[in-house]
C-alpha cells in the first residue's frame, strides 16, 4: 500500500523530454557549477548504484556480486523541471563533461505543459525556423549598366525618413507661407524595436541605449531605439540622448506620467512617439509584467506600486475603432511636443493592415506605420499566440506599399517592418529584402538580444524562458544576481559591432544595384525568388 502512484499520466521519462543532458562520468569533477547555474533546476546531484557480477570461467569458483555507489549528475523528468537546453551547464563546466542534446523525436513534454489547466506560456520566439525573407535573392547586379559601386570603398548615405513627407509643391508652399510642416527625422533604417524597461533587465536596457548613443555620437550613425512600453528612466528623459529614443505608448500607459512630468525639462525632443496597438509575437494579446519583476526600480520608472503584476490590456481602453483611436492618439501625442515630434502607430501584422494604412494616409498628422509580423519575439505569450497567430510580414508590408503606390503616396508615408528579421542570422539580407519590398526601415528585437547580449533562445524552443525572470544571461531578468552577469559596456560594444557590420553588409547588397545615396525602398525589380507563387504574390521576379 503506497500512497504515491508509481506512474502518473504526466510521469515522463528522459526519452519524453525535448532535451537530454549528456553527462560524462569520466570527465566530471563534481564541481557543482552545472547544478548551481541551471536556471530551472533541471539537473541535480544523484546517488547511483553500480553492480558487478563476477562469474569465473569454467565455474572454477562461486559467482559473486558487488554493489557500489557513485555520484553524478541526474536530469529531472518532472514537467516543471524539464531541461530547456540553454546549455549554461556546458558553459560553466570546466571539463566539457556536460551538454544538453536535442532528443531524437517529438517530445511528449508538450502534452503536459498545461498542468493545472494553464496553457503553456513562454517567452522567446515562434518555433518555426524557416524564413521567407531568407529565400529572397537580390537578382539585379547592375555592374556596368548603372555606375558600379564598391561597397568597401565608396561612400554611402544609407538613411531613411521617419515622418510625413509632403509633396514638394505643398512643402514649398508651406515653407513660403510659414505654415506648419510635419516633423521628419532622417534616421538609420535599422531601428532597435520596442523592448520595455522591465521586459529587459536594467543592464541590458542601458547597454542598448549606450550603444545607440555611441553610434550617434562617435560614429555619426543616426540609429534610433524604441523604449517599449515600460516608461523611460527620468535621467534619460532629461538628457540630450533622448533625441535617439522613440518613446512608446501602449495600452498600459506605464511610465507616462513620469514622461509628462519630464517634458518641461527636456533638452531635446524625442525622435518620435510610437503608439503600440499590437505586437507580432502575440497579436491581439496584451502584456503582463509579473509581480516578481516589479521591484523598486521598475516601480519608480513605471510609476506603479512594487510587487504587483502589471497587465497591459490587449486593446487601448476608451477607443473603439481604429479611426477614432488613430485620430485621438496621434493628436494627443503630437500635441504633447507642440507637433514637433513624429507620431506613428505600430500594429501587428494583420490582413486588415491596409485599412489602417488607408486611414493614416488621410490623417495629416500620421508620420508612418509600423507593422510587426508574426515572427516577432516576446517576453511572455501563450504558446498558441506565438506559434499560430499573426500575419507574415512580407506580403503584409508589400500589400501596404503597393496600396500606397496605387494612390501615389509611397513617398509620403513611410512603412516600417519588423518580426523575424535576421532570425537565422541574415540581418542585412532580410532588412534589404523588406526595404526593397517597400519598407522605409526595419525594426529588430530578438536579433539584437542574441547578438548584443548572447541570448541563447532559438526557434527550436531552446531556453525561451524570458517570461519567468530567470534569463541565464541576465537579459530579461530583474534579479540583480542574474542581470549583473551582463556587462553594460560589452552590450553597447556589441550593438556597435552589429551596426557596423550590418552597414557593410547592406552596402554589399545595395552597391551592386548602383545605389549609394538613397535607400532602394520599393526597388522590387531587384528581388527574385525560386517560388512562382511567392513571386506572383509579392510581385517580384520568379527565378530558378
Amino acid at each position: 500500500m503506497f500512497s504515491d502512484p508509481a506512474v502518473a499520466p504526466f510521469s515522463l521519462s528522459l526519452k519524453d523530454l525535448p532535451w537530454w543532458i549528456d553527462w560524462d562520468n569520466s570527465k566530471c569533477t563534481l564541481c557543482g557549477k552545472c547544478t548551481a547555474v541551471c536556471p530551472v533546476h533541471a539537473i541535480e546531484l544523484g546517488v547511483f548504484r553500480r553492480r558487478k557480477v563476477q562469474t569465473p570461467l569454467n565455474f572454477s569458483a562461486q559467482p559473486s556480486q558487488e554493489t557500489s555507489l557513485y555520484y553524478g549528475i541526474r536530469q529531472k523528468t518532472d514537467p516543471a523541471s524539464a531541461c530547456i537546453g540553454c546549455a549554461m551547464c556546458s558553459m560553466v563546466c570546466p571539463n566539457d563533461a556536460i551538454i544538453p542534446r536535442r532528443s531524437d523525436e517529438a517530445d511528449k513534454l508538450r502534452y503536459h505543459v498545461d498542468q493545472g489547466g494553464s496553457p503553456r506560456n513562454r517567452g522567446g520566439r515562434r518555433n518555426v525556423s524557416e524564413s521567407l525573407l531568407d529565400r529572397i535573392k537580390f537578382i539585379r547586379i547592375s555592374m556596368l549598366t548603372d555606375p558600379a559601386l564598391d561597397a568597401g570603398r565608396h561612400e554611402f548615405e544609407l538613411k531613411t525618413l521617419l515622418g510625413r513627407v509632403l509633396p514638394p509643391e505643398e512643402n514649398f508652399r508651406r515653407m513660403k507661407e510659414r505654415e506648419w510642416i510635419p516633423p521628419i527625422r532622417e534616421i538609420y533604417p535599422l531601428i532597435i524595436g520596442s523592448m520595455s524597461f522591465g521586459a529587459l533587465s536594467p543592464n541590458m536596457w542601458e547597454g542598448l541605449q549606450l550603444g545607440v548613443a555611441y553610434l550617434n555620437e562617435e560614429l555619426k550613425m543616426p540609429v534610433r531605439i524604441c523604449t517599449g512600453e515600460g516608461g523611460c528612466p527620468p535621467r534619460l528623459l532629461r538628457s540630450r540622448f533622448l533625441k535617439y529614443v522613440i518613446l512608446q505608448i501602449a495600452s498600459g500607459y506605464f511610465g507616462w506620467d513620469e514622461i509628462i512630468h519630464a517634458i518641461p525639462h527636456m533638452k531635446e525632443d524625442p525622435c518620435a512617439v510610437e503608439i503600440k496597438y499590437g505586437q507580432g509575437a502575440k497579436p491581439g494579446d496584451g502584456g503582463l509584467l509579473m509581480w516578481y519583476k516589479v521591484n523598486k526600480l521598475i516601480s519608480a520608472i513605471r510609476g506603479v506600486p512594487m510587487g504587483v503584476s502589471l497587465p497591459s490590456p490587449p486593446t487601448h481602453q476608451t477607443k473603439y475603432s481604429i479611426e477614432e483611436s488613430v485620430a485621438k492618439m496621434i493628436q494627443s501625442m503630437s500635441m504633447a511636443w507642440g507637433f514637433r515630434v513624429p507620431v506613428y502607430p505600430k500594429i501587428s501584422g494583420t490582413s486588415t493592415a491596409a485599412a489602417v494604412l488607408n486611414n493614416l494616409s488621410r490623417n495629416p498628422y500620421a508620420s508612418g506605420l509600423s507593422i510587426d509580423g508574426e515572427d516577432g519575439g516576446t517576453g511572455a505569450a501563450y504558446n498558441v499566440s506565438m506559434n499560430h497567430m499573426g500575419h507574415p510580414i512580407a506580403s503584409n508590408l508589400r500589400d501596404c506599399y503597393l496600396n500606397l503606390v496605387k494612390i501615389g503616396r509611397q513617398n509620403e508615408i513611410p512603412l516600417f517592418a519588423g518580426g523575424g528579421i535576421g532570425k537565422n542570422g541574415n540581418l542585412a539580407a532580410n532588412a534589404a529584402a523588406l526595404i526593397m519590398l517597400g519598407a522605409s526601415g526595419v525594426q529588430i528585437g530578438k536579433y539584437i538580444m542574441q547578438a548584443a547580449a548572447g541570448c541563447v533562445g532559438s526557434e527550436s524552443d531552446r531556453c525561451n524562458i524570458c517570461n519567468i525572470g530567470r534569463c541565464p544571461k541576465g537579459i530579461t531578468s530583474q534579479d540583480p544576481r542574474l542581470y549583473r552577469r551582463l556587462d553594460v559596456d560589452l552590450v553597447a560594444r556589441r550593438v556597435v559591432d552589429v551596426y557596423l557590420s550590418f552597414d557593410t553588409e547592406l552596402k554589399k547588397i545595395v552597391a551592386p544595384l548602383g545605389r549609394s545615396t538613397t535607400l532602394p525602398i520599393g526597388m522590387s525589380d531587384a528581388l527574385g525568388i525560386n517560388d512562382p507563387a511567392v513571386a506572383e504574390r509579392l510581385d517580384i521576379k520568379y527565378v530558378v
Partner: protein
Amino acid sequence: MDNNEEYFVISGKINGKRIESRILEEKLQKAVESGHRRIKVNAFGQHGIGGRLWRAGGEPVEIVVEGHSGQRVGSMGFPNTVIELTGPASDDVGWLNSGAEIVIHGHASNGVANAMAQGKIYVSGNIGSRGMTMTKRNPRFDPPELWVLGSVGDYFGEFMAGGVAVICGVAPQDRDDILGYRPFVGMVGGSVFFRGPYKGFSRADSKIVDITDSDWNWLTSNLEIFTRKIGKPELLETLSDRSEWRLIKALTPLERGGKTNRAMSDFRKAVWEKDLGTGGLIGDLVDFDRGLIPVITTGDLRRYKPVWENRKYDPPCAATCPTGIPVHRRWRLIREGKVDEAVALALEYTPFPASVCGYLCPNLCMQSCTRESAMLPAVDVTLLGKESIKAGIPEIPKPLGGRVAVIGGGPAGVSTAWQLRIMGHEAVIYDMAETLGGKLASAIPEDRIPPEVLSAELERVKAVIPNVGLEKRLSREDVEKLKSEFDYVVLATGAQKPRVLDFPGKERMITSLDFLRRAKKGNIKPGERMVIIGAGNVGCDVAAAGKRLGAESLLLIDVQEPASFGKERKHAEDAGAEFRWPCFTREITEQGVVLSTGELIPADMVVIAIGDAPDLDFLPDSVATDAGYVLVDENFRTSDEKVFAVGDMVRPGLLTDSIGSGRGAAQTVHKLLAGGAECNGERDMIDRNRVKTEYFDPRLAAFDDIQDAASQCASCGDCRDCGICIEICPRSAISRTPLSGEPYEYVVHEDRCIGCGFCVGACPCGVWNLIENFGLM
C-alpha cells in the same frame, strides 16, 4: 622634341577621313616591324597609341603623338618605348603600362596610370580623377612612377599597391587641395610625394611619414629629370624646398589592425555619465552595485542556498502511526547502541509496545516506509516491538493534582490513563470486565499473541495505573457522579454490542464477540462444520480460533468481497478457511445456513461476525451522538466539555487507532489541567523523494536482528551524522559544529557555498534542502 631627326609619320586621317584605331595600330606595328624607330603619329582620337611595340626586339622606339591622342595612350607599353604627347592626354594614359616612358606636355584626364606596373609617366599639368589607381610593383622590375606637375583629381591612388607618385602642386586646379577628394582609399603599397595644401586622405589606409635623406636624394635627382623631360628645368629650384614636401605611404597590414574607435568604457564615463550623472541611466534610482558578477557566485549573490532541516519533518513511519510513535528515533538509538533507551522510548507513546507493535498491529509504519518505494523491505518494526517486552516501568512524575476518571479498560482507556499518569495526573479506570485490556485481553485468539506477552504488558500497566475498578457496570447516574468528582471523564467503553441480522433462526447463531471470549477461556465447542457470516478480520479470528478448538471445515461467507486483510486473514487461510461471496443469508436451520438462492450450507455452528457497535445507553444527555457513535471534536472532546471519548466509541478502528486516540485525549486533558504545551507538535511528513534509498542494498530480503534492521532505516528527515555532505561539497563549505544542548549541527559557510545543491542530492536522510536565497531581493 628633337626636330633634327627624321620621323616616320603615320597619320590618323586618310583622305581627310579618320582611320579606325585598328588600322592605325596595324600601321604602327608594321612600321616598327619594318625597322622604324622614330615615329610621329598625327593622332585623331585613336585608342591605345604606342603600346605593345615588342616587334622592335628591344631596340628603343620613340613615338611622338601630335593632335588628339585617344584613350589609353601607351597602354601595355613596353620598356623599349618612349612616348611623347605634344598636347593633353585623354583617359587612362599608360593603362597597364609595363615599362614605357610617357611624357605629356599638357593636362591628362581621368585614370592616368591605372593598373600601371612598370614605366614612367610625366605629366606637365594636372590630372583628372582616379589617377595612379591599382598600380603595382612587380619585384622583378623597378617600381612604376607617375610625375604630375600640378594637382590630381578625386579618388587618387585607390587600391594603389606599389609604385611612386610625385605631385608637385604647381598651378593646381584647386588651389586649396592638390590631392583631390578621398585619395588613397584602399592603398596597400607604394609611396606618394606631394607638395601643397590638401584636405584629407584615407587614414585607414595610409599615413604621412618623414622624408629621409635618401628619399630626398632620390626625389631631387629625379625632379631634375622630370623638369627636364617636360621642358621646364627652371622649376627645379622652386621644387627643391624640402620643407614643402610630404611623403605618404600605405599602412602596413599590422598597422591597420582594425579601426581604433573610442573605448566604450571611456565613452560611458566621458560622454554618457557626464550628461546623465554617475551611475548612468538609473544611477539616481538604485543604491546597489550593478557591476559585473561571475556566473558562479557565493553568499548573497547565490540564487539558491542549502538549509539543514534536521527533524523539521516527520518520517513516514512516525507520521502514519496513529499512536505517533517516532519509530525512526528508536532505530537511531539502536544504531547508537542505546537499546534500552530505544525500548523505553515506546512507553512514552503506548502501554502496549510489545503486544501491538510486535504482534497485533498491521504496522502502518512499515506500510508507509520510504524503503518500500524503492522495492526495499520496510524496516521490520515487529522485531523492535517484541524487544519492547523488556521495557521496565516508566518513571511517574510527582502528582500535578489533576484527577480523571476513565470509563473502560480496553486499549483506548488504558492508553488514556497511562498517558495521564506519566504526565503526572491521577487516573482511575472503571471497567465491567474481570480483567484490564478489553478485547485485547478477552477476544483476540492466543495464536495471534503469546499470552505471556500480553499479561506482562498488563502487569506493567497495573504498576503504572494503581487505581482500577473492575466489574463495575456504570449507569447514567454513575457517570454524572464521576463528572462531579473528577476534573474530567473519559469514555472508552469500546464497541461491545454485537450487530446481528434479523432473519429466521437467528437464535441458533452465536456472536463473534461471544465466541472469541469463550474460546479464549476454552469453554466452547465449535462442532465439525463451522460457518461464519461476515468475512472480515474478526470473522478470520473466529475461524482461526474455531480451528484451534477442533472445527474441521471453516467457511466464511459475505455479501461482498471480504474486507479482511493482513495477519488475521493469513491466520484464517492457514487454518484452511474458505471464503465465499456474495452470499445472502435467508435463514438458519438446524441443518445450517440457507442462502437466498435456497442453497443449504450445512453447519454445526454458525457465528455472526459483522461487527460490534458501541453501547451508548449509559451516556448522559449532555453527550451527543451520531449514527451510533459518540460525537467528538479533533481533540476527542464531546459536546459535554467535561467529557472526552476515545477508541471504538468514536469510530471503529485498529488497536493503534484506539491507543492513539487515548493519547490524544490525554494530551488535551493535560493541557487543560496543567496549561502545558502540547507534548508533540504536529509536523508535516517529509517528501519521500528527498530520501536517498540508493544507499541501501537492494538485494537484502530480511533482517537478521534489530541491529541489522536499525542499520537499514533511512532515518528520513533525521540526520544520521554520516558526514557525506561535508565530503560531497565541492567547496568545503559545510562543517559540523558541536552544540551545547543539541549534540551537533551542520553549518554552511555562505562565503564558500555556490548553491549547487550537492549536499541536498547526496544526503541519505533528505535533511538538506535547497531554498531560494532572498539575500539581495
